[in-house]
């Protein structure tokens, strides 16, 4: 692998200073390294220095506040998210999606912050987190700001991160009532492939009453697509999947043409919503 300097800050402020000191691609943050190091090895990125975020202190906690918001510090590994008792109890769909990421070795290295900051559309967590209305906390020299994840993800490898900024946490706001549903990962080849489509279907219940349906489509287009329907009915779910298929702008690749991916969104969207509905109204 090409040479670079590894800068090792202990605090977020120090990390931001180091990041702010370089040009765009000259100094890059690295956390798990499972995506970035591949780009360096392949010569697609040639950073002068990498800022190692793995040694930041206390940057991987997963907590839930009294209001019910779940906060995941950015350096929590995908595996820590997947196995966190808090996530398993309160956001099982996120645990399920994280379990689908790559393989166990990568999940032990890769971090949730790194995953979101990388901006790779072919990944499991972004779509689910958009469905959960998650927010990302960004820290930079000027302090911290919070963005809706949906506004943070701008396109393939494109995010709202400014130079000198890093993701420090992702938070899922409190859920009114409870969410049921699941994440459905579809691969066209080996079980180990990245998702060709990642569908999250959730129904929000207040008491026993379904008050909202959400359908998030990840990995198909440059950004996750989220559709929400208030006061859903069984019949409305089908049109929701159709709408997602019509609205989405799929990126064609070896896994499938745009038409095929659109077709998948329709089929899998219906399936996932139907399953969520069955769970909501047994």
């Amino acid at each position: 692998m090409r040479n670079f300097d590894l800068l090792e800050p202990k605090t977020v402020a120090e990390a931001c200073r180091m990041l702010g000191a370089g040009g765009d691609d000259d100094v890059r943050p690295v956390s798990g390294g499972t995506a970035l190091l591949i780009l360096v090895k392949q010569g697609l990125l040639r950073p002068r220095a990498l800022v190692n975020l793995k040694k930041l202190e206390g940057a991987s906690a997963i907590t839930r506040d009294d209001a019910g918001a779940v906060r995941i510090e950015a350096m929590a590994t995908i595996h820590e998210v997947e196995t966190s008792p808090v996530v398993r109890e309160h956001l099982p769909v996120l645990a399920a999606a994280c379990h689908q990421v790559a393989n166990i070795r990568i999940r032990h290295l890769a971090t949730i912050g790194g995953n979101l900051a990388h901006g790779d559309h072919q990944s499991d967590p972004p779509g689910v987190l958009v469905a959960l209305d998650a927010e990302v906390e960004l820290s930079g020299a000027g302090g911290t700001r919070t963005l809706k994840l949906a506004d943070f993800l701008l396109g393939t490898y494109e995010t709202a991160l400014e130079p000198g900024e890093m993701v420090t946490a992702v938070t899922v706001p409190p859920v009114q009532g409870r969410l049921v549903g699941d994440y459905l990962k579809f691969t066209t080849g080996s079980s180990e492939e990245r998702p060709c489509a990642g569908i999250t279907a959730l129904v929000r219940l207040e008491g026993d009453r379904p008050v909202e349906a959400r359908l998030a489509v990840g990995a198909v287009a440059a950004r996750p697509l989220l559709l929400c329907e208030a006061g859903p009915t069984e019949a409305a779910l089908e049109s929701m999947a159709d709408r997602a298929a019509d609205d989405i702008d799929p990126i064609p690749d070896l896994r499938g043409s745009a038409d095929y991916k659109r077709h998948l969104v329709r089929v899998l969207g219906r399936r996932a919503l139907t399953a969520a509905w069955k769970e909501a109204c047994p």
Partner: protein, 778 residues
């Protein structure tokens, strides 16, 4: 028999589970440098100039080599035709062609130096499609016709076709036109199979050191140590004994390590540097270094209403890529079996090995056979469906039988194929004709079953030599150039030697190939080792045995015929207390209990085909195998789940049934990848999915829910204990069996292009909905 036929544990087991087994990348020679190559970014270009001055000046760079360093050497090499330069000469012919190489103190320095090399290219028109490349007027990839060094290829291949067609092979019999005229129905379809990766997890790697100007030592995971030795000797103008090829443990080969790949450049760098050089390819480079041939198959079949085949015409175009390697020989291997393991009285079978501007291919498990099997076994199911016959019955009706005269003119022996088919049919619970009807369905899921049968030759004529050395303590060393690459050859050969000597297997050690020590072997390929090297080892052990019995008979003053081996020495039959130990026998033979007793054998199979007629003896033995598969297709998404796979091979005699099973499981899994997702994609000659992130190999979760490896044993009269090869036997049958299962699940749609990606399945269903059949009717 005790050793042979038992599930003897692998002799290399401890070294492999402990991590102690040394592979080539683990070798660390004193003063060793690291290599890196500059590769062509163009699929076809004139090489105008190369300037390495900046690279050579970089601190830590010890040697840079280009075409200029080939002066005085023989720059071109190749297994069949010498068409591949050690480094690009006047032009590059594919993306990844090696233009220059650097040896440096550290890997990073070598990487950096390569980027400092300045090359001027003048792009040339290129051709990537194999059928287009074979046409007159296509850009010519090799302007001169190359000579072949090997007399056997000169005599057995047609290498004068012209254009980009490197070789043509024709086989046939009867009167094909009359056959089609006589047929009740004629089907004609085309099939495509894309290039795929071997996928050995150990990349190509070599380490080279010149011990003196006339002495080259190369460590490499090569399946063909002797062949590589010959090629290196020729490139560097050395006698064969001036080149020593040593083969450490090998991390998988599957055919991909049969030929010289990076060894010539590594040796050239070591020569210029005057120091040892190691070169480990990156996975991206592996993708540019070897692959299976892509192929286009045109198949026309005439048959009677009762299901009997009367005529078949097949044309196959194998895409060699930029260099031939053993392509012409592998295309020949596809030709005479292109009509399948069936009795077909009239046939015309032609295969073309064609250059394209894609990275070079080479032999991969099954060589030219999977391509034709995909076509002919898909056709058999279409015919069965058309005639309303049970596909198993249709096959049984037409299958070759023991003693049949094949298209090559030879009589077939050890033909257990009907039994193989019956075994797999039963293994997947085949119920007969109804399997082509509507399978079980639940929601969007459709079940389907399919079968396929194949035959394949082993490369012929060839030779293998072995030497058995009995030590004074009664332990035995088998010296052989056969490469252990995971297939269990060391264990299998140890079992054969132990069996013949009546010794426990633990007393037999099998060498790794080292051309200073181990005798000639054609190569560890074509699943030929159990048969050929097994025979050589058996006979070499036999020689040792005879000497022991003779010495014993002499010492004990009995007739040799009354002696037998046993209890770690020899004894008089039926008189256990009249025995001699090995040290005692050595004393009888040499007057002292020190020394070795040697036995040796050069086992040779004659044969081969006349390229003008396609007649002769194609195979020392034939493989016959069958596969049955059950799948579940999601007709909405096109995704297929493999429920059950059963394979069956006629192995003649299973020397080690467990290891036979592992070979079949590996073949099945590689084929499963090729059936559903493995495909090397190129755009204008550039690799699109040239990493293991984008090109994935089957995982444990992709493994079928159920897998059975079944064996048929029809002893081969010439095989050691009746054994034949097994390594490649199953692989060509798996893809068409899966294809037929998918076709049946879809209610009768045979998709003709691999892999069966979900989108292809959905598209095929949509075409039928729209009334486009996709199938040519008679």
């Amino acid at each position: 028999m005790s050793a042979v036929g038992s599930d003897t544990p692998r002799v290399d087991g401890n070294a492999k589970v402990s991590g102690a087994a040394q592979y080539t990348a683990d070798i660390d020679l004193p003063g060793m440098l690291h290599a890196k190559a500059l590769r062509s970014p163009h699929p076809h270009a004139k090489l105008v100039s190369i300037d390495v001055s900046k690279a050579a000046a970089l601190p830590g760079v010890i040697a840079v080599v280009t075409r200029d360093d080939l002066n005085g050497l023989n720059p071109y090499y190749g297994a069949v035709v010498e068409d591949q330069p050690v480094l690009a000469m006047d032009r590059v012919r594919c993306v990844g062609d090696i233009v220059a190489a650097v040896a440096a103190e550290e890997r990073e320095i070598a990487e950096e130096a390569v980027e400092l090399i300045e090359v001027e290219y003048k792009p040339l028109p290129a051709v990537f499609d194999v059928v287009e490349a074979a046409q007159t007027g296509a850009p010519i990839i090799h302007e001169k016709r190359f000579e072949t060094q090997a007399a056997i290829f000169r005599e057995q291949l047609n290498l004068n076709a012209g254009g980009n067609v490197c070789s043509v092979f024709r086989a046939g019999d009867g009167d094909v036109d009359a056959g089609f005229a006589e047929a009740d129905e004629v089907f004609e379809n085309t099939y495509r199979m894309p290039p795929v990766q071997h996928g050995h997890i150990e990349p190509h790697v070599a380490a080279a050191v010149w011990e003196s100007p006339n002495r080259l030592v190369v460590h490499t995971p090569c399946q063909n140590a002797v062949g590589l030795q010959e090629q290196l000797a020729r490139i560097f103008n050395l006698p064969e004994s001036g080149v020593r090829v040593v083969v450490p443990h090998v991390g998988g080969g599957y055919g991909g390590k049969t030929h010289a790949r990076l060894e010539p450049v590594t040796a050239l760098l070591a020569r210029k540097a005057g120091r040892p050089v190691q070169w480990v390819l990156t996975r991206e480079e592996v993708f540019l270094t070897g692959r299976r041939y892509g192929a286009f198959v045109r198949m026309k079949t005439g048959f009677k209403r009762d299901g009997s085949l009367v005529a078949r015409e097949v044309e196959v175009f194998y895409d060699l890529g930029a260099y031939a390697l053993s392509g012409p020989a592998n295309a020949k291997t596809g030709s005479y079996v292109a009509s399948g393991p069936y009795r077909v009285p009239n046939r015309r079978l032609t295969t073309y090995a064609v250059y394209t501007n894609l990275p070079p291919a080479g032999p991969y498990r099954g060589v030219g056979v999977p391509h034709v099997a995909w076509a002919y076994e898909s056709e058999m199911d279409r015919i069965a469906r058309h005639l309303g016959m049970d596909p198993v019955e249709l096959r049984l009706k037409n299958l070759l039988q023991e003693g049949d005269v094949f298209v090559t003119g030879e009589s077939l022996v050890s033909v257990g194929i009907s039994d193989c088919l019956r075994q797999v049919a039963s293994g997947i619970g085949w119920r007969g004709r109804e399997e082509q009807g509507n399978g079980a369905s639940e929601g969007s899921l459709r079940r389907g079953k399919g079968v396929a049968v194949i035959m394949k030759s082993t490369t012929t004529p060839t030779a293998s030599a072995a030497s058995v050395r009995l030590n004074g303590d009664g332990s035995v060393m088998l010296l052989t150039s056969s490469t252990e690459m995971g297939q269990g050859v060391r264990t299998c050969l140890a079992q054969i030697v132990a069996e013949r000597l009546g010794f426990p297997v633990e007393r037999v050690t099998v060498s790794a190939p080292d051309t200073d020590v181990t005798p000639y072997d054609k190569s560890t390929s074509s699943s030929r080792t159990t048969f050929h090297m097994g025979n050589a080892a058996l006979r070499a052990a036999e020689e040792v045995r005879e000497q022991l019995l003779e010495a014993g008979a002499q010492a004990l003053e009995v007739d040799k015929a009354d002696m037998e081996l046993g209890a770690g020495g020899v004894r008089v039959k039926g008189v256990p207390d009249r025995s001699l130990t090995i040290p005692q026998l050595l004393r009888v033979k040499y007057g002292d209990s020190v020394g070795s007793i040697f036995g040796s054998c050069n086992f040779q199979v004659k044969g081969g085909l006349d390229p003008r007629t396609g007649k002769g003896k194609a195979a020392a033995f034939w493989f016959f195998s069958a596969c049955g598969a059950e799948v579940e297709v999601d007709v909405e998404t096109g995704k297929v789940r493999v429920v059950n796979v059963a394979t069956s091979v006629d192995v003649g005699k299973a020397i080690n049934p467990l290891q036979c099973g592992l070979q079949n499981e590996g073949s099945m899994l590689e084929a499963l990848g090729a059936a559903f997702f493995e495909e090397m994609v190129f755009e204008q000659g550039q690799p699109v999915n040239g990493t293991l992130l984008e090109y994935m190999l089957p995982s444990m979760e992709d493994h079928p829910e159920r897998f059975q490896s079944l064996l048929v044993e029809t002893p081969h009269p010439d095989g050691p204990f009746g054994a034949k090869g097994v390594g490649e036997a199953v692989i060509p049958a798996v893809v068409p069996a899966i294809g037929n299962a998918v076709a049946n699940a879809l209610g009768g749609i045979n998709i003709t292009e691999l892999p069966l990606r979900p989108e292809r399945v959905v598209a095929a269903l949509a075409e039928r909905e729209a009334g486009v059949t996709g199938e040519q009717q008679p």
